[in-house]
């Protein structure tokens, strides 16, 4: 005789009503040859399967850029040898392979290219229409992707290219590149 009670092991998986619970799926009552054959004519079962996840994202060597934005400073990177300057941070220069250094970029630039998004990815759909711009800066070799406010999105015009714009910062950082955005220069309204 064992000197302790046998553990009571579960004999079935407990059924609950949470998540996806189906109470009946149509199916032949008897599975004869004809019914098995008929399964080929059955339509597909289609249902919704939710999926949600939180990522731990590190800005790595680009982190000072975001710290800068949070403090109202627009930082870029420069190759120490050639002086080639990036408006979008880049830890190493693409031509020399050298580690870049941090520089403060001008807060004023001009529109190099733009679009007005009337549709968008699901995350941004509620923000439509919004204006995307690539900004160029005097003395800087690459561009910066940003949002433009202060123009009528329904009056898009190629004349926007070349427009002088100035940086604005969110009061409270969201630690995203949209902590900085642009307005037509001199528009203090």
């Amino acid at each position: 005789m064992p000197d302790h009670d046998e553990p009571k092991l579960p004999r079935k998986i407990e059924e609950t009503d949470d998540g996806q619970t189906v109470f009946n799926v149509p199916f032949p009552r008897t599975l004869d040859e004809a019914a098995l054959q008929m399964l080929k004519n059955m339509g597909p079962i289609i249902f919704k399967q939710p999926y949600q996840i939180d990522y731990i994202h590190s800005y790595g060597q680009d982190s000072p850029f975001f710290a800068g934005l949070a403090n109202g400073v627009f930082l870029g990177n420069r190759d120490p040898g050639s002086g080639y300057t990036y408006a979008t941070p880049r830890g190493h220069d693409m031509y020399s392979g050298t580690e870049t250094e941090w520089v403060v970029l001008p807060g004023e630039g001009t529109i190099h290219a733009f679009t007005v998004c009337h549709f968008g990815s699901e995350e941004f759909l509620p923000q439509t229409p919004f204006v995307l711009i690539l900004v160029e800066f005097e003395g800087v070799d690459t561009l910066f992707l940003s949002r433009l406010v202060g123009v009528d999105p329904n009056a898009a015009s190629l004349d926007w290219i070349g427009m002088k714009v100035e940086a604005r910062y969110l009061r409270n950082s969201k630690l995203k590149p949209t902590d900085v955005y642009f307005m037509p220069a001199g528009d203090n309204a």
Binding site: P44, Y59, C117, E122, F124, L143, L145, R147, I161, P177
Partner: protein, 453 residues
């Protein structure tokens, strides 16, 4: 490198959604078609095929990793060698080239490339979000990640630099949709007008819904073989197959973030990026010098340097000097009407800056089809005779292989057999190019296919 033949292909009918089958079973439709077209049984082909390359873009769309092996398994190809390739929108083109390499290198005598994408498992805007995750998630995606927006920015710069117009882009949409009217595999078969394109809902200024390809569920398969592989297949079937081979391949890349694309000088462009035909022409050199004098820089965001480098490599390897006159047709990656027009320039079908007028010239249209347009010049080098991505659909991993299948059928002269319509058959096609392109021009492949003399 050995000569590599392309002997057969198959495409599933591209559609918005294929809930009737799992993706593996959709791949099997294309795969079985390719085997049937060789007049081989499933068992005969399974015996002779040495391995495969699988192509699909995103694990997100199905929330399924390792879809490649699932297709391999379903096709009955285990335990033969295989691997999956991925490179955004160019995934199918990369797969085509990897299968070519498997045979050219002597690793395999018969290799099948299959590709697929199942984009219908999420709604369109979530799908756009997944695709936008192919842009830098630190700097690009959070600003408003949307590829239609990225391409729209690229074309506003093209319009500003060169005076390109939305009507010129709309010509591409009209052409490709009307071509697809004769292609039973295409998802969208409509006879649109320029006005239809311009009055469609605006998606990202200036691109309307009819300037942009749609999402699709679909699959495609292409069978490659060496001389020895061809002999084995023909011995098994007792048939002689038309000789179409891969003449050359080319690839290029560019900076992930559009903002990082260089703005090179005239001398750099002429030394690194100009095609021989451009370098050797005094008139073209002078034309480019004038562009630079007026502030043009290369590639900037208006041109796809990766597309140029892929074309240049493929042309140099094949000895193609004058692509417009030496290539009979091109199946290119027209995810946007604007990118077709920009790609004309990258591929050297016209000079940089002349894509707009070239789009309306008539040279890229099919003979014998009424487009309802006034085209000043006769057809010369049909671009997207199949209807391209805009009309056929763009199930990413299948797209570049679909181009390979349609190019093969053109060179075999079998379009009528496969389409039940010979309207899209290009008479006496000897050489075709296929061009596959990943987001904003990061990876681009160009492969030349040729009928053996």
């Amino acid at each position: 490198m050995r000569r590599v033949y392309v002997v057969s292909g198959g495409v599933s009918k591209f559609s918005k959604a294929r809930p009737d089958k799992t993706f593996q079973a959709v791949v099997k439709e294309a795969y079985d078609y390719a085997i049937r077209d060789l007049d081989l049984t499933f068992e005969q082909f399974t015996e002779l095929v040495d391995g495969s390359v699988a192509s699909y873009f995103s694990d997100h769309f199905q929330r399924q990793l390792m879809s490649g092996i699932m297709a391999q398994d379903y096709l009955g190809l285990c335990p033969k060698p295989s691997h999956r390739v991925e490179g955004g929108g160019a995934t199918g083109g990369l797969c085509f080239q990897e299968a070519w390499k498997s045979v050219a290198s002597g690793d395999m005598d018969v290799c099948v490339a299959y590709g697929f994408e199942t984009m219908s498992h999420v709604n369109t805007w979530k799908g756009n979000e997944f695709i936008a995750l192919a842009s830098d998630v630190s700097f690009d995606y959070p600003v408003g990640g949307f590829y239609s927006g990225y391409y729209a920015m690229m074309v506003t710069r093209h319009m500003k630099e060169f005076g390109t117009t939305v009507e010129q882009m709309a010509h591409v949409s009209v052409k490709n949709h009307i071509n697809a009217y004769h292609n039973p595999y295409a998802q969208k078969r409509h006879r649109y007008t320029i006005e239809d394109v311009r009055s469609a809902p605006m998606v990202a200024w200036p691109l309307t819904r009819l300037d942009i390809c749609v999402m699709s569920d679909g699959a495609a398969a292409v069978i490659f073989c060496s001389e020895e592989g061809l002999a084995k297949l023909e011995q098994a079937s007792g048939k002689r197959y038309p000789r179409v081979y891969v003449e050359s391949i080319g690839r290029g890349t560019d900076a992930m973030r559009m903002s990082d694309r260089p703005h090179q000088t005239f001398d750099e462009f002429m030394a690194k990026n100009a095609l021989a035909i451009e370098r050797d022409s005094m008139a073209t050199s002078a034309y480019y010098k004038d562009l630079w004098d007026r502030g043009f820089r290369y590639p900037g965001v208006h041109s796809f340097r990766a597309g140029r480098m892929a074309s240049k490599q493929a042309y140099e390897r094949a000895g193609v000097v004058d692509p417009l006159h030496e290539i009979d047709f091109v199946e290119l990656h027209d995810a946007y009407t604007s990118s077709e027009l920009q790609t004309y320039e990258d591929m050297g079908l016209c000079r940089y800056g002349e894509g707009g007028p070239f789009a309306t010239s008539g040279k890229t249209f099919m003979p014998g089809i009424d487009y309802g347009l006034n085209l000043p010049e006769p057809p010369l080098c049909a671009v997207n005779p199949s209807g391209g991505l805009i009309a056929c659909g763009h199930p990413v991993g299948a797209t570049g292989l679909m181009q390979g299948v349609f190019a093969l059928w053109q060179l075999q002269g079998t379009v009528k057999k496969h389409f039940n319509d010979d309207k899209l058959q290009i008479a006496h096609a000897e050489r075709g190019a296929i061009h596959s392109h990943a987001g904003t021009g990061t990876y681009v492949t160009v492969s030349l296919l040729r009928k053996e003399a």
